[in-house]
Amino acid sequence: MSILTIARLELLLARRNMWVATSVVLMGLFTTVLTLAGGAPTGTLGVDPLIVAITSITTLSVYLVPLIGLLLSFDAISGEAERGTLALSLTYPLSRGGILLGKFAAHICVLGFAIAVGLGLTAGLTIWQYGMADLSFAPLFKLFATSLALGSAFLGMGYLVSAMVRQTGVASGIVIVIWLVCVVLYDLGLLGALVADDGGYFTKTVFPWLLVANPADAFRLINMPDVSVSVLTSGLGTAGGASGTIAQLASLLLWPVAALFAAWMVFRRVEP
């Protein structure tokens, strides 16, 4: 009950603070552009145009979904502590886990709505351009579900940071670093290691697991299993996907749970 109350308030706040509008506009704009731009070269190739769009949107979502997730969550606790609203909330009869879950429910709704609008636009535009025939929508739903999982992971990380530091400014700095590491630097590091290793032990056994351990990469692999490897480096064969779909799914599901759990553990000890 109190979880719903918190979620309701957070949704109201997200609407007032323009977070809903911002996320929807961001996702809608980028998916529209990618769908239209992606459609241009494929018309003659005879590939399912939706698959092409989804491939581009996956690449985009790897950057955008974690970013929106972190932006929604970084001041969830530190911001309230700084404003002074946290102490009062904590004197009300509801658990800290309840506060966290309520915020999470609201934020995942905002994120889900933005992603749904974006992917809905993609589906609508593709149908408008090519008609219903020959389109398979299953990958679209897979993209939606895994985007939610990816977003949840980064929401959880945002809460964790937010509970650990007292200042919103510090929290925002840390989440930017997390974002950079997860979606850019991690891949660059792995790429460097691959080049140095030159197809040895690391490339064959350690690398696939390291790749899938990053939720952003797991998300990329699961949504574009063929393209991802060639994006990273050529001549790798299927090494990147060797961890398999189960490992990718496990990574995408474990990260949100672990991050939220860690956030809850830290939040429990916060003295407002």
Binding site: S2, T91, P93, L94
Partner: protein
């Protein structure tokens, strides 16, 4: 309710062994200079800050437990809300958290005189208005214990008066009220008991009259004399001659009546007498100063 509570921050003892009880329907004022440990004490009762030692009992429950939190209304010092919400939205949110019907939130908005601004964003409220929202949320669900931390700071005298009216009603309804304040003059008439903290210790805890008695602070008598009689009067009574027409003297509470008789015996030389018992401020200085000397 509070027994021998200690809170240490490193070597600093913010609260050093305080024992205190608040009964149902009682208004207890907690005084003390900044950093005396008042807020820390309240936070421990709320369960926001863990105790270093000692026990706190909130109506039979541990501080911070669900039962305790259900029973407590809290108004924090410099209360803050989400500026993007309206007063009504914020109060209804708190009502839902306390499982109180929304109508109670409406009634309280009316009670604290904020109905007219209920649909404005809290970000546009003045400090006094935010304080009223804060008081309203503390009253939600008729708490058994109300903790009010510096509730009247930033309120104008009239708002302050209205505030104490609400506190009186609350106590009359059986709520135990523990409030801290710097506005000493209000507390003189509007509380049942006064506890004074100094450097983490409780240095006084009694009704105002009893504190006055125990402190044995002098009563001040201002005698206004008829024209040019001041010299004669001060020669007779002792005391200090202030100007041509007034004499100022002090006495202990138990000497008061005798002194008054002496004054009355002077007949036509006296035109008026003002009696001022030690004010709460003097008492407060007396008790917290005493501790400072130790």
């Amino acid at each position: 309710m509070i027994e021998n509570v200690v809170k240490k921050y490193g070597n600093l003892e913010a609260v050093a062994g305080v024992s205190l009880r608040v009964e149902a329907g009682e208004r207890l004022a907690l005084l003390g200079h900044n950093g005396a440990g008042k807020t820390t004490l309240m936070r421990m009762v709320l369960g926001l800050t863990p105790l270093s030692s000692g026990t706190i009992n909130v109506l039979g429950d541990k501080p911070g437990s669900r039962n305790a939190r259900d029973a407590i209304g809290f108004l924090p010092e410099s209360v803050a809300f989400h500026g993007a919400l309206t007063g009504r939205e914020q109060l209804r949110h708190f009502a839902r958290l306390k499982s109180v019907p929304a109508q109670a939130a409406e009634d309280l908005l009316e009670r604290v005189g904020l109905s007219y601004a209920a649909d404005r964003k809290i970000g546009t409220y003045s400090k006094g208005m935010r304080q009223r929202i804060g008081l309203a949320q503390a009253l939600l669900g008729k708490p058994k214990l109300a903790l009010l931390d510096e509730p009247t700071s930033g309120l104008d005298p009239i708002s302050r008066h209205e505030f104490y009216d609400i506190v009186d009603d609350l106590a009359a309804g059986g709520t135990a009220v523990l409030l801290s304040s710097h506005a000493l003059t209000d507390l003189e008439t509007r509380t049942d008991r006064i506890a004074i903290m100094s450097k983490g210790l409780l240095v006084a805890n009694d009704s105002l009259g009893a504190l006055r008695h125990a402190a044995r602070l002098p009563i001040r008598l201002d005698v206004t004399t008829s024209v040019d009689a001041a010299d004669r009067v001060s020669a007779h009574l002792g005391g200090t001659r202030m100007n041509g027409q007034s004499v100022y003297l002090t006495c202990q509470p138990d000497e008061k009546l005798g002194k008054l008789q002496e004054i009355m015996a002077l007949g036509n030389d006296i035109s008026d007498v003002d009696i001022t018992p030690a004010s709460l401020e003097e008492l407060y200085r007396h008790y917290s100063g005493q501790q400072g000397d130790l």
